[in-house]
Assembly symmetry: C2
Homo-oligomer: 87 residues x 2
């Protein structure tokens, strides 16, 4: 299924969450990733994300879409992740 | 149409972008908003957002969905915006 992942984490955990997201998804904005994951991949990804989060502070929202209903994405401003975001 | 808005802005511009988003949409995570906007509202919202952004650094991604295709949202971690994010 198509998924969009957005994280809001404390700065000191950004490198780890970024690395985890990049293993599974494409980077579309500093804190936004997208891609295709099976249900099993989504479970593994969730476990990997939760292992690096501080659940009392950090948050991650995941949007999922049934096949054939991917959204239209519009980028306003400096849309591409900057080189310093790519670890 | 249903829209999801995610911003990545420099910290000093967060209060202004947050206020702008809250005029048009619901707050679902620190940097994520959702809601229903007409095409005219989306144009006004975009103008308001671009007025507070530094386009050389900040970025905003907007996902839009045709009627009837709203995504499923999953929250991992501390999903609700914290009180300090609500200005």
């Amino acid at each position: 299924m198509h998924v969009i992942v957005v994280y809001d984490t404390a700065a000191e955990r950004n490198p780890r969450i970024l690395r985890t997201c990049r293993k599974y998804l494409h980077h579309v904005q500093r804190s936004v990733f997208e891609g295709q994951l099976s249900a099993a991949q989504l479970r593994r990804f969730r476990a990997a994300v939760e292992a690096v989060l501080d659940l009392s502070y950090d948050s991650v929202t995941v949007y999922s879409f049934p096949p054939g209903t991917a959204p239209v994405r519009h980028a306003w401003g400096a849309a591409e992740p900057t080189p310093t975001d790519i670890l």
